[in-house]
Symmetry: C2
Subunit: 502 residues, 2 copies
Amino acid sequence: MKEKLAELKRRLLEIDDLNAATAVLNWDQTTYMPPGGAAARGRQLATLSQLAHEKFIDPEVGRLLEALRPYAETLPYDSDDASLIRVTQRQYDKSTKIPSELLGAFYAHSAAAYQKWTEARPANDFTAVQPYLEKSLDYSRQIADCFPGYDHIADPLIDFSDEGMKAESVRALFAELRAELVPIVQAIVAQPPADNSCLLQAYPEADQLAFGQKVIKAYGFDFQRGRQDKTHHPFMTKFALGDIRITTRVKPNDLSEALFSTLHEAGHAMYEMGIKPELDGTLLANGTSSGVHESQSRLWENLVGRSRPFWDHYYPELQAAFPEQLNAVSPDTFYRAINRVERSLIRTDADEVTYNLHVMIRFDLELALLEGSLDIKDLPDAWQARYQSDLGLQAPDNRDGVLQDVHWYGGFIGGAFQGYTLGNIMSAAFFDQAVQARPTILSDMRQGDFAALHGWLKENIYQHGSKFTANELIEQVTGAPLAIAPYIRYLRTKFGDLYHLA
Amino acid sequence: MKEKLAELKRRLLEIDDLNAATAVLNWDQTTYMPPGGAAARGRQLATLSQLAHEKFIDPEVGRLLEALRPYAETLPYDSDDASLIRVTQRQYDKSTKIPSELLGAFYAHSAAAYQKWTEARPANDFTAVQPYLEKSLDYSRQIADCFPGYDHIADPLIDFSDEGMKAESVRALFAELRAELVPIVQAIVAQPPADNSCLLQAYPEADQLAFGQKVIKAYGFDFQRGRQDKTHHPFMTKFALGDIRITTRVKPNDLSEALFSTLHEAGHAMYEMGIKPELDGTLLANGTSSGVHESQSRLWENLVGRSRPFWDHYYPELQAAFPEQLNAVSPDTFYRAINRVERSLIRTDADEVTYNLHVMIRFDLELALLEGSLDIKDLPDAWQARYQSDLGLQAPDNRDGVLQDVHWYGGFIGGAFQGYTLGNIMSAAFFDQAVQARPTILSDMRQGDFAALHGWLKENIYQHGSKFTANELIEQVTGAPLAIAPYIRYLRTKFGDLYHLA
């Protein structure tokens, strides 16, 4: 049994090496690669992914897992070996249930759809991508149908990124959340918007980057095991537990862009940096779901990085870094600026309160498309109708409407968006538990000390990697299934205070 | 036949993708990787190399080559397809004649020897590496013996990097060269050394890099298909013909370090950037030998970059970039400084005239070790004796003596050094032909215009990649086998003028 386990680990490590190489090539492509490298890079990435996939769906992997199951059952559920066998089996089943030809055809189609979208969006041309989206929807249904027995056709697709979550339970949670959010948004936007002009001044790039790095170092981002570079779209990537990188982009006239994307990506990175080293090179050395991952990025970006205690400590330091821009700006004005709430068209620019409304619109439209109650051709109108009803505004064109997000144009229709809002909900649920367990967290933050918070997160969430599903982890940490109450309480307290709501 | 050729190319492309990924991971390791990434990176690199090797020695590759040979014989020798089949066959034979276990054992030993050397060199401890070197010598002999029928046991090892070159012919060429060089060196070092203090001032890093990049852009280095980053040891690497990168290091108090390493590596890079695009993704899309590669780096570094016509154009620009450091320094003083000749201990710091003496010492010692006329334990003394007789000085310790170069500690003993001097000899032979064919080259250089030279090199050398061996290429370009005459003429003219030699 020991030999079979060693053989399984050896194979997984080889696959992990190939996946890590893919990640390095992707990182290089978006950070430093000269334009002439693009064509070959696409091919190199395809070759590496294909090899890793072939090695993972090798029937010998299935036989090893089969042979190891009885052994796993003798071990505690949360032991490294039992978890490895369980999680690998689940991933193996998912990977082998989809015929390779179908997956290959879908990837080829996705690449073409993405390419078409990059042209169609600036041209505001939905009809150019419509046939691609129709085909993507068809593929999404076919791939969902590889997992018969689902309650809702979106369930298998949701399961890819948020294992164990289902359309109906997410829908119910989101309906509950929307009922709470809409009146808060209405009450806030009835008031004059916060003045954010202090953020929109000239801020030198190097100083912006230096300040962000100083903060995340204090958070606990380990620069011996990571670094930050510039890209067009910020992201986090991992090459091994000892090499986890983040990227950001800098707007010379908007302080919030680089700073909050840095705090966000550092949250993703610290999650994976905190996974116990023994899990490195296996499927367990990853965040467990897109929702839990997002809970960590949003926790460090918003619950910490846009909080009053955080800025009680850091605002004087920020003023010292940018005296010309900020010496005349009061802490109150700055705090209101970084927490300005407004109805807007673009999800990625949205504030904490309205952000989830953007996500829910997309989630509902995905479900309607998959169910067949909405046709692709009617998607632009449906999008506009929902923005009108939920956010009270309409995009002037499809560019900032249905063509806004890459997700549907480079992947499945279904399962693409729920993680963002699940993450927000979880971030407050986890933070609540942390503060209950370590009551000094808020006063420590006021001193620029994040050790208690980081330590609690590491102990209760990070170290486990993907041993537990999101639902298991939430039960374990909060003692109950995911609930919106802590999140609503958080929003009500923070924004009630900021906007003097009843 | 078309299908077999397509299948061969498909397999080679997959192998090329894996090798490119290895190159990206190596590049990242030396440029940006945080320290925490080191352990996993070593393993990832080993996995990728192993996969590429397995795929290349697959018997199906041998069968395809076998089946394609009759087809290749119907094609012109220099056609893309005939060359691909011929060169791949040669490489396949080399790769399959060495048993995988032997190669694997050697690589494992090399990694350990290299590791030991990194500790032994600073500790000046030859005895620590002596057993490793003994084993390396044993492996080198075993691997040479995989190619029975050689004239000299070093021939197969020389052939790995300089295909077609043999110990005896290289030895003869080097003996002829030494006979010419020694009196030149003696005549020069009898005179007071040139004053190079103008180079040893404070030069800001960013300005050094900017100046070097301006020059190589004028040379024809294509920044759309390449870039420059900083590393501890400068190198050139290729991920595809559209993505070829160089690195450099900057000494804040020595202008020559970054500048000449930039010109050197750009020479390597322009060679591969000039390979015809149709050869991309095959074994033909490489420089053809270490000697020819070095001829291009040395040509752009020395024959161009340390020449009087070059500095007639660039010295005013250099002064404009560094007015405080250079406005009081005459062009003559500067030109003498960058061409200062002196007896020295360190090969990589040596000037154009003495450099080859360093190389020949190593080459002769390698042959003696392989022949068995010198034991590893006597190597330090033999090293010192040769430095005394050839360069008239002795290293104060082994650190700057026999422990100086990494080559023997990270690879074979044999075939490691001859390429450097072959490259110098070739650089003058090729440059001579270029100037004869395009007589404006020297006057163009005086205008900062390198198009005629670059164009000639591309047409006659670069575009062919490794279609022709070094010997074939030299015959084709110069009409005769490699001769030292042009190189000696070049050195005599340049340094005769600088040092007023008879």
